[in-house]
């Protein structure tokens, strides 16, 4: 029995009356139930980018060696030499992870991996950027544990190392955690695949898993606020099967290398609907699909369910006519479904049949982002809260009662302390390319056939963006670049994941727009174009919106593997230099939050020109072979950076004695988070040359201390045994998550 389309049903599908009128105009009639479902997912915020698109277009998307631009393909692609291409992208899986952390996070990994191998690239690394609420809450521990297990189990089984990332804990993410996953793959240029359908008569295949009822309306779920009813959305969360994905990977790469795949696209959000309509629209053609041919795992599925299912581990392939058997043989070898479900047609309609009847007939371009899908210019209004917290703190800050205690407290806070508990659960080494696993400024992997390295990082401080969205956006990009520079790399390009609240709220949208401006400014300055990514709105619960949280994934190239640089101190007697200077900023710092429970006072100011000069100096020092370690200053400021450099070495800890501070007061010089600062260690010769170079380029370079001993001493303020520091730094998270023992 056909379900009748009523205004209530239209509203339940998240479509506005105006959008419904447009659908009628496009079709020249009322849509049926299946068509309503198709429009609703394709026009959902998640698939259509209807609120964000005008702003995303303002980001720099042009650059040297860029092969696929943002939005054009499943992921961005950059050539790195000798015909080798890196393909990478970041995506969010926030809402699914909020209601079902294990599967939500696992399928987040699965989805982003498919985006990479749908491009013909073999995935070789992944990273993740996670945000949770307060770890004292059992709910947070449950979410954190589930998300980490989900990422671990999927990635480990799939066989791609998880090489880095970041985890923050802030109350704002209590009800709505953020789970952003980034993946990177490599391919030879000639084997890159495209997500398009062309050539009338070419068969359309569905390959991989069978289709079930899981994940129906996942994209719509991702496009609404979380509330007390969200738990009922658990059936909207897909179930992952990493083993199936591993087989799908091998089979797809084998098929692509065979040379007869016209186009290929992952079935993620909106499943068959999205892949068929996007591929057809891109190729400027149509497609006819016969749902009777779709392999199913459940009986009695109706067309609506088949079209909207988000069952994982499936791909849509368009194959050159005449090579059907060749392709089938490959999938048979890997024991995977491989069924022809339709054909490319000239006429620009997507026609879906079941039992011989047409159940949906829609022009594909009317569905897709950047073409027929709606675009809105959302209202903006500067949020009121900024009057309270956005004003920058000025003047000298009173010292804490005890600097030692303050440092230990910061070091043991979940956001700062070592994430070893997390990454010991990830296979960080499989594929034997990992030169720098998690625990330094950036991860570094090598490309075996090219003998070059890639540095990878994911960065974003939501608190800064909350306090000053534009500056926060800038800082996210600058810090990512600084992390790559400290590891010996030249930054290449960016993928971003923009996590915000409800875009229909003008105050939320104002923060979004300012963040994007900041990101754009910094990306232009760093010459790192944005190759793609993902926008996640509606990260909002009855308690309000999460902090505006853009996460920047950045990839850098290391031409000479001898120049890979780590954050930790190396040898007794080495001089510790500070590049850059303390501007006496405490606003937005981890210190204020952890010691005083205060979020406010603006955020540090980033001067892009100065930042570039600091980065250039550090990069020069590394290239000259002068720099033995480099570590960027971020959350927790100089004191935390020094502690990390003392503790992070896999060879064992080493002490430091620092006797020269800068800036207006002691508190900001230890714990302030002024930007554009890096600590490096050098020998005498390095000090002279870096100083000279710094003087010439207008970057302050000072010796602040020496490496050695078994303590961290900072002036007469901090005097702590490394054993004590290490205990707080390394084991705090373990103690919270595994219980005190």
């Amino acid at each position: 029995m056909e379900i009748k389309v009523t205004p209530e049903l239209v509203a339940q599908h998240g479509l506005t009356p105006e959008e419904y009128e447009r659908i009628k105009e496009i079709l020249g009639r009322e849509p049926n139930f299946t068509e309503l479902g198709i429009f609703s997912v394709m026009w959902s915020e998640h698939c259509s980018y209807k609120s964000s698109l005008p702003w995303l277009k303002s980001l720099p998307r042009e650059g040297e060696n860029l092969l696929a631009k943002a939005g054009e393909e499943n992921a961005g692609a950059v050539e790195i030499g000798d015909g080798w291409v890196v393909v990478f992208k970041m995506e969010s899986h926030n809402h699914p992870s909020a209601v079902e952390p294990y599967q939500g996070a696992a399928t987040g990994v699965g989805g982003i991996m498919r985006d990479i191998f749908a491009m013909g690239a073999r995935p070789i690394a992944s990273l993740n950027s996670l945000r949770f609420g307060n770890l004292e809450s059992p709910q947070t521990r449950y979410l954190f544990d589930g998300v980490v297990r989900g990422i671990a189990d999927y990635g480990n089984c799939f066989g791609v190392p998880n090489v880095g990332g970041e985890v923050y804990f802030e109350d704002t993410y209590q009800e709505n955690p953020l789970v952003n996953v980034m993946a990177l793959g490599v391919a030879k240029r000639g084997y890159l695949a495209s997500a398009l359908a062309k050539g009338p008569g070419n068969p359309v295949f569905i390959v991989g898993s069978s289709t079930g009822r899981d994940g129906i309306h996942g994209a719509t779920f991702a496009s609404e606020e979380l509330n007390e009813k969200s738990q009922a959305r658990r059936p909207s969360v897909q179930i992952g099967d990493p083993f199936m994905e591993k087989l799908l990977l091998e089979a797809c790469l084998e098929a692509i290398r065979g040379g007869h795949i016209v186009g290929i696209q992952d079935m993620g959000a909106a499943g068959i609907t999205c892949s068929t309509s996007e591929m057809a629209a891109k190729g400027g053609c149509g497609m006819k699909i016969d749902l009777d041919k779709v392999p199913r795992r459940e009986e009695g599925m109706i067309p609506y369910e088949l079209m909207l299912s988000e069952s994982q581990e499936r791909m849509l392939l368009v194959v050159e006519r005449g090579y059907e058997e060749e392709v089938k043989a490959i999938f048979k070898k890997w024991e995977l479904n491989c069924e022809v479900i339709g054909q490319v047609v000239e006429e620009g309609w997507l026609k879906v049949r079941e039992g011989g009847e047409v159940v949906a007939s829609i022009p594909p371009h009317s569905l897709v982002v950047g073409e027929g899908a709606p675009v809105y210019k959302r209202k903006e209004k500067k949020p009121k809260y900024l009057d309270r917290v956005g004003k920058r703190l000025k003047g000298r800050f009173p010292p804490p009662a005890d600097f030692n205690q303050a440092l230990l407290k910061l070091l043991s806070s979940p956001t700062i302390s070592s994430k070893e508990w997390v990454y010991r659960q990830y296979d960080t080494m499989v594929r034997t390319n990992t030169l720098l696993p998690p625990g330094s400024d950036a991860a570094v992997i090598r490309i075996k056939k090219l003998n070059k390295g890639l540095a990878l990082t994911a960065d974003g401080n939501g608190r800064y963006c909350y306090l000053d969205p534009r500056m926060g956006g800038r800082i996210a990009v600058a810090e990512a670049a600084r992390n790559l520079i400290c590891s010996g790399a030249k930054p290449l390009a960016v993928t971003d994941c923009l996590n915000f609240g409800n875009p229909e709220d003008p105050e939320v949208f104002w923060t979004f727009a300012r963040c994007v401006e900041g990101i754009g400014e910094a990306c232009r300055a760093m010459q790192t174009p944005v190759t793609g990514g993902n926008v996640s709105f509606y990260n909002q619960s009855p308690q309000g919106s999460v902090y505006p949280t853009p996460v920047i994934g950045m990839v850098g190239l290391i031409d000479d593997l001898d120049k890979v640089t780590t954050q930790w101190f190396k040898e007794k007697g080495d001089l510790i230099l500070l590049l850059g200077e303390n501007r006496g900023e405490l606003g937005g710092s981890e210190y204020l939050r952890v010691i005083y429970g205060m979020v406010g006072g603006g955020c540090p100011v980033l001067d892009l020109d100065y930042e570039l000069r600091v980065q250039a100096l550090c990069r020069w020092g590394i290239a000259q072979g002068l720099v033995k370690s480099a570590h960027d200053l971020s959350e927790g400021g100089l004191a935390i950076a020094l502690a990390e450099a003392c503790l992070a070495s896999p060879e064992g800890r080493v002490g430091a004695w620092v006797d020269s501070l800068d800036g207006p007061d002691e508190v900001s010089s230890l714990f302030g988070e002024s930007q554009s600062r890096i600590i490096v260690t050098v020998e005498d010769e390095g000090w002279k040359r870096l100083k000279e170079k710094g003087d010439n380029s207008g970057v302050k370079v000072r010796v602040i201390g020496k490496v050695g001993g078994d303590k961290l001493k900072i002036g007469n303020l901090v005097d702590l045994d490394l054993g004590r520091l290490e205990d707080e730094y390394r084991f705090s998270l373990v103690r919270i998550m595994e219980g005190r023992s």
């Binding site: 089984c157 990493p242 083993f243 591993k246 087989l247 960080t428 080494m429 499989v430 034997t432 030169l435």
Partner: protein, 232 residues
């Protein structure tokens, strides 16, 4: 020397073994698809790590039915050398070629980390390049590496000197603290009665180049190469 690396559906360290043997140690090496039954013409077969059949049901429980395992058994019977690494070790246990089972890690979590291993018996084709008591630094990466056998078998393994590697600390001391996964008696590697099938949980193929953090894994492969040379 000619190595064969067996790829099961879900193997994910097959390429790493291939790289280690071919590119780093300059040996002849071929992939063997799990559907092949004929594994003649090789000097040593490697069952690599990974998640064969997703580790669904039980680690190695489905892979033991792969056609290639018939060939592996015959190969073992004729005295050929077989090395099972991680999931490969679990498959060999399921196939009855090595004793014991792997329980879930005591922590009930996946563990990826470097560990230290003490060579308990250097008179095997897999350790003949090591010294007795030598400490090797090689990573582990598994969910289920908690080696378990019944008491009588454990006594037998000890009596026959078939425990080859044990988890230890940097100085070679064996203790509870140096046991990453709860394995009985800190056992990381055992050998079969015939002395030609070794199962080890740590990944020697990941410790083959100094740029990756350790080269101790080479000693396992170089021992195999050396034992072949000595045999002529």
């Amino acid at each position: 020397m000619r190595f064969g690396v067996i790829t099961f559906p879900g193997s994910n360290c097959d390429h790493d073994c291939y790289w280690a043997l071919r590119k780093v140690l300059s040996q002849e090496v071929e992939f063997i698809w799990h559907k092949e039954e004929d594994v003649q013409g090789y000097d040593c077969l490697i069952l690599p790590g990974g998640f064969s059949y997703g580790d669904y049901l039980r680690t190695g429980a489905i892979a033991k039915f792969s056609p290639v395992m018939r060939g592996v058994k015959e190969f073992v019977h004729r005295g050929g050398l077989v090395l099972g690494i991680c999931n490969g070790f679990q498959i060999l246990q399921e196939a009855g070629l090595l004793p014991g089972v792997m329980l879930q890690n005591e922590s009930l979590r996946f563990i990826c980390d470097y560990v230290y291993l003490r060579v308990e018996n250097e008179k095997t084709p897999f350790t003949c390049g090591c010294k007795k008591g030598e400490v090797l630094k090689i990573p582990i990466a598994h969910n289920a590496g908690n080696f378990f056998v019944e008491k009588e078998t454990l006594e037998k393994l000890k009596g026959e000197n078939r425990i080859i590697l044990r988890y230890c600390d940097k100085e070679g001391r064996i203790s509870r603290a140096s046991n990453p996964n709860g394995a009985m008696d800190n056992i990381a590697a055992v050998i079969n009665e015939g002395g030609n099938v070794l199962g080890m949980m740590p990944h020697p193929e990941r410790a083959i180049e100094s740029i990756l953090g350790s080269t101790d894994g080479r000693k396992i492969f170089e021992s195999i190469m050396r034992s072949r040379d000595e045999k002529g």
